[in-house]
Symmetry: C2
Subunit: 304 residues, 2 copies
């Protein structure tokens, strides 16, 4: 339910079709419900459908939450299903001693998505997929050797021909960016930034809790915090009107030119969403954002 | 038969399967044989298969030749099949008044591939596909709007959200590179370079024809020239040995560090392949390459 829209694109492209994508409901903490997953698998098996892949989120886009990966691994193994973890954003937690435990179970995944251009601060277009068996699966799927490139085949360096692992032919030397970033920051450097950003998100949440017209939604597991603008006057509004209020506040904040946040939808209801993803963000920026939210919220209600 | 390997990747990914890809034989000039195409379509229809796409090459990778596009358009229209032109390399001919006529018929294609990173000299990773109806087909296929991006939807600028047209989400601003290159060189600048490179290729071919131990293969329609190293002593060799000779000469040239060329396979036989694709290439470089080929060829035969 909280999975990235790329899963929908993927099943479309694979020809599996979106009607065969089962979105598993999440609980009140926005974690994938294991009982629901099991029920859907059993139902599919009973109907003669073959479940091929279980995908868990490690840092869901909207909430930043991490699904119960170890339990997902158990279920995947039990039913002999491919286990994929979308760690595009949250996979970076692996670099933090303090937060690594949240990913418990990811080591049993058959494949893991990680986007170094997200929480590893590498410039755009550096998505990656890691495979348990080192890419043989990808080569089996994608490798086609045209005759005019065949003189380079066969050597030990063949494993570095990245066009053998995916759709693209001509491509940039993206690995260099990732390598440079790793060399520049190192594991400790990454851990420090990641730890600080999670701490700042908790700080934001704690101060937000003190502000009367805001209500938090979901938990903080990475550096994402969701919440709603809920002034007392809004309790009489319809759900649609309350949703519109969130959008209106987002737009005011955006138009102020001082900060930017997004909105998302959680269990059918619009919410505001903050994701701390710049290593330049400090406490004073959080304080400024809180003040901005309070001010724009007040102005918004005045106009109503 | 001379199509790019990306067609094989595409049918794999689409789930159509390589067994449903019909490679149409080419004639002695390496152009797609229209009679063969028609025969394959008729055979498929007779067997209850539905032909969905006819793909012609405008600048085939190995030979640089351009298929008879106008005739392909006729056949595609006759059978109501999608007509695609792979102009990844040769599409750039459209910018040259002198050579544009070679693409006659491309204007009737439903879709055209063009890679600005090939003959338009844009840095890597700037592949493009042009569609007759301005991209609606691509949006229908790929557009999925996640909730956390929905506040940006609906405006006039929605057509510029390129992630709605393909698989990639987060992406570089590639269009800027293409735009900058167009602004820098302009249509006339491009035409001048393209015309010069084709002329240089003809020059290379003419001088090669004067060299005894070489035999040309195919024609020059873009800036590609294929040929074989055929010293008199080699006429007694088997086909496999003659093929090995081409590879051996390619490797010697590469190891000299002075020039680079590739090999390819034309109608089952290995050939050498020169593609002039740098706007810095001048006549003297061609002369040097010819001298290098002669010298390395002589050395190669001495060692036999």
């Amino acid at each position: 339910e909280q999975s990235h829209y790329s899963l929908e694109k993927s099943v479309d492209i694979l020809g599996i079709g979106r009607r065969n994508l089962r979105k598993i409901a999440t609980d009140e903490r926005f974690h994938l419900r294991l009982d629901e997953l099991r029920r859907e698998i059993e139902r599919d098996l009973a109907e003669g459908n073959i479940p091929v892949c279980v995908a868990g989120a490690a840092g869901a886009t909207s909430t930043g939450i991490v699904d119960p990966l170890a339990e997902l691994a158990d279920i995947a193994r039990e039913y002999k299903i491919w286990f994929h973890v979308d760690g595009a954003y949250g996979g970076a937690l692996a670099l933090s001693e303090k937060h690594r435990a949240k990913l418990r179970g990811i080591e049993r995944a058959d494949s893991v998505t990680i986007d170094p251009h997200k929480w590893l601060f590498v410039p755009f277009a550096a998505g990656a997929v890691l495979l348990k068996d080192g890419g043989r699966v990808l080569r089996d799927a994608f490798d086609i050797t045209p005759e005019y490139l065949s003189e380079e085949r066969g050597g030990a360096d063949v494993v570095f021909d990245f066009f053998r692992y995916g759709q693209l032919g001509t491509r940039r030397f993206n690995a260099l960016k990732v390598w440079m970033a790793l060399k520049t920051l190192g594991v400790r450097g990454y851990a420090e930034i990641i730890d600080r950003q999670i701490e700042l998100t908790h700080y934001f949440a704690a101060r937000l809790d003190e502000l009367v017209p805001f209500t938090r939604a979901g938990e903080i597991e990475t550096a994402v915090c969701c919440f709603r603008f809920t002034p007392s006057e809004s309790s009489a509004l319809t759900h649609a009107e309350q949703d519109a209020l969130q959008r209106a506040l987002q737009q005011r904040v955006e138009q102020s030119g001082e900060a930017w946040l997004s909105t998302t939808v959680l269990h059918g209801r619009r919410a505001l969403r903050v994701n701390i993803n710049s290593f330049l963000t400090e406490r004073r920026h959080i304080d400024d954002l809180l003040e901005l939210l309070r001010r724009e919220g007040r102005e918004l209600m005045k106009q109503k």
